[in-house]
């Protein structure tokens, strides 16, 4: 079976499972929105302060919840399921890429809704023509977060404390992704170029995808 067919199938199954369980949009998203609203209330309702901190709060909550969303899929996979997938002839690289693709789609939708909520409650001053660059920032950040979390899940698979270990792996490595994603609107406000931040995100995403594909097979063998 071709790699692309397996990638599509892994992503499709993960998305169907997500649609059925509704974990992201019925459980995690409401929590994230409530956290965002609590932040806005805790700031004392001063409009100038809210406008300034809104995007920073958005990124902090997005990364925190987004990371957990992507890690959850890997954490829920039982060793028995991993064995079955191996016996079906599933290429570990296809599993990594399919799972990353599904997580990225979920995270980008999650971040888009959260961003609109932030705009509603914090009313930040957004620069002219922000929609395109911000959409690119969310998209590229989601890919980075998904790839990093999936890779961390693979590294931690088979260990007893895999959920906490995966989070520890992700936390330091997520910095370039946060930096790239959060600085795009900032750079537009300062009238400085956004290309460097876009390139940072693309480079990080590519590095994570290449690392994930390259390490998928040895990591699968090591997890047993």
């Amino acid at each position: 079976m071709s790699l692309s067919t397996q990638i599509r199938e892994v992503a499709r199954a993960d998305l169907v499972v997500e649609r059925r369980t509704g974990d992201t949009f019925r459980i995690v998203l409401p929590f994230a929105v409530v956290t965002l609203i609590i932040f806005s209330l805790a700031m004392g309702g001063e409009v100038a302060v809210l406008r300034n901190v809104g995007p920073a709060v958005f990124w902090a909550i997005s990364i925190l919840f987004g990371m957990q969303l992507a890690l959850r899929t890997a954490a829920l996979e039982s060793p028995t399921r991993r064995d079955l997938m191996a016996l079906l002839g599933l290429d570990p690289a296809a599993r990594f890429l399919g799972r990353t693709a599904a997580s990225a789609l979920i995270i980008v939708a999650f971040m888009a809704i959260l961003f609109l909520t932030m705009v509603l409650f914090f009313a930040p001053e957004l620069p002219m023509g922000w929609v395109g660059p911000q959409a690119a920032a969310l998209f590229l950040t989601a890919i980075g977060l998904a790839a990093l979390s999936t890779l961390a899940g693979e590294v931690a698979a088979g260990t007893r404390s895999r959920t906490s270990l995966a989070s520890l792996i992700v936390a330091p490595l997520v910095i370039p992704v946060i930096l790239g994603g959060s600085q795009i609107l900032e750079a537009m406000e300062r009238n400085s170029g956004i290309l460097i931040w876009i390139l940072l995100l693309i480079t990080t995403d590519l590095a994570l995808l290449v690392a994930g594909v390259g390490l998928s097979r040895p990591l699968e063998e090591a997890s047993r």
Partner: protein, 214 residues
Amino acid sequence: MTASVELADVDVVLGGKSVLIEVSLSLSGGESLAVVGPNGSGKTTLLRLLATLLKPTRGQGSILGQNIGSPEIRQVRSDIGLITHTPALIEELTISENLLHFARLSGNPFEDCLRALEVVGMEKAADRRVGDSSFGMRRRTEIAWLLVSKPKLLLLDEAKSGLDVEARELVDALVGLTLNKSGIVVGVSHQTSQLGDRFMHKRRLASGRLEGFA
């Protein structure tokens, strides 16, 4: 090529503990082996080793023509069928969606899965979510998949445990089908009665050591 399984003085150490010690066995196409042993004797580890999902710590062997522990062993994995204690289906998908998933990943036709569901008496439950299905239904779904994938090496870990008479007969039928096609079957259980009488060879596993024919 005739199916074969060879293990020579294989040790498996997991978490610093010797789980299998100097295990040797040799099986050819059309042969079946029942391994009986108490809980914790290493039965599941033996099956995972035969399924190429574990590497030996010491010793040599080959599964379906490929050396165990070699990178090429991956090539034979799709010819191996494994039934474990707990059916490894995706809870949130329906029974037919699980089979569709397996078919797409392995390149088998989905139409064969639907026919196999009829054979195991599950056609009316095809649209039921696995999470809402009984243990017996999950096991029948696995059997349906193995009827489609036609493994050359069939590995059964307490496969009849918790099944009704009809479902136990399906397991026997699967064993018979595999052997008729010159495949190899290895079944493990803590009770001889759980395995049935379709196995040619019977051995006992005690504290990681595979003892002689009973």
